[in-house]
Structure formats: structure tokens, C-alpha cells
Symmetry: C2
Subunit: 210 residues, 2 copies
């Protein structure tokens, strides 16, 4: 008994118990409707575009093509659908690959049922639902290291270098002499204990100096 305004939700999750659990939960929540529930990307691929879901709950560990790998393919099949990752994994690399691949949210599987419903609602309203710990990791990824040995000017110049600009061009953009830029770079290399552009950039990024 579908209503026109129901939020249409699809699920890709290999564990049958979990999948049916979610389907039951969502199907029995007023205003939400399950349009399809699949155990793998391969199974979903054929029919999911026809389901026309508003939101897709996607597991990352799937048999065959993993959820992460399936993400860009699903995005192409469903350009208008919000994809929420639902997983037990909290590894940084996985999270950032998922967000880079077009996920609009990232929930861990210990998320209480009512939170899953509210996350679906939230993503429809322009939000970006994340589990608390995930959100912390995402925020931390932006945090600069205040303990930098580099001065403001040195940091600024290293930032320019990391964009691939030549020293000459940096000098022009900062309205200083080429020699000054060279001098700063000399000091940067000493402080970071490196002997090349690439190593300086790597050290600085690893330590969040830039």
C-alpha cells in the first residue's frame, strides 16, 4: 500500500538476517518504503535502477564486487539517489574512499534503529549523517598541527610549492624576490630535514603542517 510521498529506500546487504531486519524496520515505519533488498551488487545491478530509490543503504563488505568498488557504478545507475554506507568498519581509508566515491553518509552497524530512520530522513533534507566516531575522524582529518616548526611565511611558501608552482612563479605571486623564496626553501628543508621538494611535501603533509 504505497503512498506517493513515501521515501523510497533500497538495501544492499549480504547478511540475510540484517537485510531483512532493515527491510522490516523501514517497511514498517510510516513514510518509508522498501523498494528492493539485495544481497550483492551483481543482484542489485539488474533491477535497482527500476526501483528508483531515494536512498540506498549500502554495506561495504559484499561478496563479489565490494560496496566500495560498487559505489561509482551505483552512482551511475542512480544519479539522484543518496547512498548511505552501513558497515562495521571504521578504518580511515575505507571512510575516505567511500566519501570520495560519492557516499552521502556513513553509519556503523551498531547504530540504533531509530537513528537509521532519522539518518535516511536527514540525508533527504540536505544533511550528511555520520556516526559519532566517524564524524570525529572526518573532522580530525582537517586538523592542522600547531606544533609546526615552520613559520607562517615558510608554511605559505611550502603550500605554494605543493601546488606544483615553480620558485619563480611563487616569487611573482608573493611579490618577493626569487632569492627570498630560495632562502625560505633552504630553511624549510633544514627544519624538516629533507633534501627535495617531494620529501618536504610528504613530511609536511604527514605531520599536517600544511
Amino acid at each position: 500500500m504505497a503512498r506517493d510521498l513515501d521515501i523510497r529506500v533500497a538495501i544492499i546487504e549480504d547478511d540475510e538476517t540484517i537485510r531483512e531486519g532493515y527491510a522490516y524496520l523501514i517497511g514498517n515505519t510510516p513514510g518509508y518504503k522498501v523498494t528492493g533488498a539485495y544481497p550483492s551488487y551483481e543482484d542489485a545491478a539488474k533491477k535497482i535502477a527500476h526501483d528508483d530509490p531515494d536512498v540506498l543503504l549500502l554495506d561495504v563488505e559484499l561478496p563479489g564486487i565490494s560496496g566500495i568498488e560498487a559505489l561509482p557504478k551505483l552512482k551511475k545507475l542512480l544519479p539522484e539517489t543518496y547512498i548511505l554506507i552501513l558497515t562495521v568498519y571504521e578504518q580511515e581509508e575505507l571512510i575516505f574512499r567511500a566519501l570520495g566515491g560519492g557516499a552521502s553518509g556513513y553509519l556503523t552497524k551498531n547504530t540504533p534503529h531509530e537513528k537509521i530512520i532519522s539518518a535516511i530522513h536527514e540525508v533527504m533534507e540536505g544533511g550528511g549523517p555520520m556516526s559519532a566516531h566517524i564524524a570525529r575522524m572526518v573532522i580530525s582529518s582537517f586538523k592542522r598541527n600547531e606544533e609546526t616548526p615552520l613559520t607562517k611565511r615558510e608554511t605559505e611558501i611550502l603550500e605554494h610549492i605543493s601546488t606544483g608552482k615553480s620558485r619563480k612563479r611563487i616569487a611573482q605571486e608573493l611579490f618577493i624576490d626569487l632569492e627570498t623564496v630560495k632562502s625560505h626553501i633552504k630553511n624549510i628543508y633544514h627544519k624538516l630535514n629533507v633534501h627535495s621538494k617531494a620529501d618536504a611535501i610528504k613530511t609536511a603533509k604527514d605531520n599536517k603542517f600544511i
Copy 2:
């Protein structure tokens, strides 16, 4: 009548009505305690370290030193304190500067009172509370552009270039010939319609190809 286990909250907010409103809200919530409420960074600087707050609610638009500029200074005064930004502004640049400066959360001022309380609780529990729209912007900043004209290999090589590595080094790391790297770069430049490393990196980053 402070209890030992109360969460200690400080506030820096120039608007008196809002400041007192928050102070009243938090002070009257069991388990929370206001240790100080200041209209500016300058006012707070003298006393806030002595307050020893667990969480600091910080406005970004302050008279004198702005909240954003005050962030690193406050971090030094209060290394253990979680800082939550509370502001009407939702500009990308401001958000990322705040998170880069060490903020642990970012709330807009239309946040309902109970959400402010739960955000304070959440940050104490290892979370990263954000308003829905902020979270969406943060997530979007990671999203890659699937419409890239570059092939996988070209993208990979451009990524290496953006770390400052020389072509020779890239060739070594990818176990291919220097000439192959040059060939890929030639194609990348053609596709992106640029004539230098710096321009290629800029175009690719602007368009989220890398």
C-alpha cells in the same frame, strides 16, 4: 552547587542575550555547569584557563580578535578542551579554517537547545557534532568527480605529480619507463588543456579529478 562529575562548559559569544541564553540553558541542565561566559577572546584570555572547561562554545564573529583567529590561541591555553563552533555562518572557507584550527564540532545558531546539549555530550564521548548542512558540506568536500576525462593511470600519475615527485621517481615507483610517464603527462596536459604541472594540478583539484 557544582557536582564533581558535571561537564564544565565555557562560552565566548559577544551577543549578551545569546550568551546568557546559553549560560542559562546549560546551567539549568543537570550534569552540566557553566564555568565562564565571555563576550570576547580578550576578555576570556585572562581567566579561561583557570576555568578549566571540558568544552568551549565559541562564536566566530567576535569583536577584536575573531573566533577563527582566536582558535589556535585558545587551543594553546586549553589543550584538553573540546571547542565547538557556534555561528550563523555556513561558508565553506570558514568551516574548513575552523576545523583546521582545531575545532571539534560546528553548529549553526538555529540549532535547537536540546541539540546543543547533546552536541556537548557527544563531543565528550568522542564524537564530532555538526549541523546537518555543515556535515553535508564536509562530506561533499571529499567527493571525487566521476566525470573526469582522465584515465585511471593518468589520474594516478597526476596524483604522484601533485606530491612533488619528479617524473623519474614516479617511473621508478610505478615500475614503468620514464618515457611512459612523459607520455601520460603529455596526454594529461592535452586533455586538461594546460601547459604546466601547476596548471594541471590546479585544474584537476578544482574539478575534483584528484
